[in-house]
Symmetry: C2
């Protein structure tokens, strides 16, 4: 059996979509939520959507310890609090895939605008806040939550991955590419996440104007 | 005959690629350069590449007055100076398509990093600096100059267009889409250019890592 992945914030739309897609691809998924009850409920919903999948619902900190790879898929408003709660919880060598996007919506602004993050990006904030030895990679900002959670929708788009070490990115890419129709593109160091994160705001605007669920593809790769 | 377009900075790689592609599409092109001699030389080169095209080379300010649509395709280092030189030159109603990218390379930094522009983006700086009544649209940041200038290369990618008025964007899109293989996507107001401009830096990094000339496509549109 493949190693499991823990998804914190998997009761949210993107996290839940990731959970069922990865579950369908044969990866056991630990669903994390602030509330253990809501996590268990989401695990039940995931199991109903993908009966062949393995899903378990746990409170975030407990979920985070259950897998070598942890995906953080929470609103920016809660990212810092979540990372504080993970201090002393994540262990050396674990890989954290941060999918947070600092949309201005976090402070009641527009979802088509970005906040400036002191560290440069949400991913760099994550890197600063995790314990030493936890590896951080940034990914999964451009795939629509609606499209991810709709298993009948055939995906065909790219996932832009940033991180400071090639091996970490490779590990994240192998996990994400278990999902059919997703191809990962190495977008450079973690600092480049300020660009890939901002694509969410761009795509949200496109979604409104074109009444669609847009994504990104890099041509020529 | 179709209305002409003036391309300022068309002795540069992207501007020249645009010139020959638009010329091949049947649009008369006025090639602008700081130096009238270099402009004439580039027009000659363009004519050699596309014998059926119409090309004229003029000093930038003169070139700018020759068409209703002007494309500004200069390094960020020179954008402000170019716009200053266009004061009192561009007339009300003209459409300026700004393709400038504030890469950190402009101040001897990396081409994979961006500068912060006080107004938010190079396009917004252009909007602030042009005379009243000149309309500014932002576009053409993600198409590779190398690919544009290689007429044997079949294009198949998107051009992300930002601007404050729909009609202005429509006009720019119709012009750009004369080039076979380019599709324009409306990316919202001019302020969104800070995101589309930054994609150049992202793609430059991808080009290095994957030894390619990458571009962007928006899926689901």
């Amino acid at each position: 059996m493949a190693d499991s992945v823990s998804i914190l914030g998997a009761t949210g739309a993107l996290g839940f979509g990731l959970a069922i897609r990865l579950g369908r691809a044969g990866t056991p998924v630990v669903i994390g939520s602030r509330d253990a009850g809501r996590a268990a409920e989401a695990a039940g919903k995931a199991k109903a959507a993908v009966p062949e999948g393995s899903f378990e619902g746990l409170e975030n900190a407990e979920a985070a310890q259950r897998s070598d790879v942890v995906i953080l898929s929470v609103p920016f408003r809660n990212q810092s609090e979540n990372l504080t709660n993970l201090k002393g919880v994540l262990r050396e060598g674990q890989l954290l895939i941060d999918a947070t996007v600092p949309l201005a919506a976090a402070v009641s602004g527009k979802a088509t605008r970005m906040l400036g993050v002191w560290q440069g990006s949400a991913a760099q904030q994550a890197q600063e806040m995790v314990d030493d030895g936890v590896r951080v990679v940034s990914a999964l900002h451009t795939v629509s939550a609606a499209v991810m959670s709709d298993l009948d929708h055939a995906l065909d788009e790219d996932i832009l991955v940033c991180g400071d070490r090639k091996a970490d990115k490779q590990e994240a890419m192998e996990l994400i590419q278990r999902i059919e129709g997703l191809r990962c593109v190495d977008c450079g160091r973690l600092e480049m996440a300020r660009i890939t994160e901002s694509l969410t705001a761009l795509l949200i605007g496109i979604n409104v104007r074109y009444k669609t669920h847009a994504g990104i593809k890099i041509t020529g790769v």
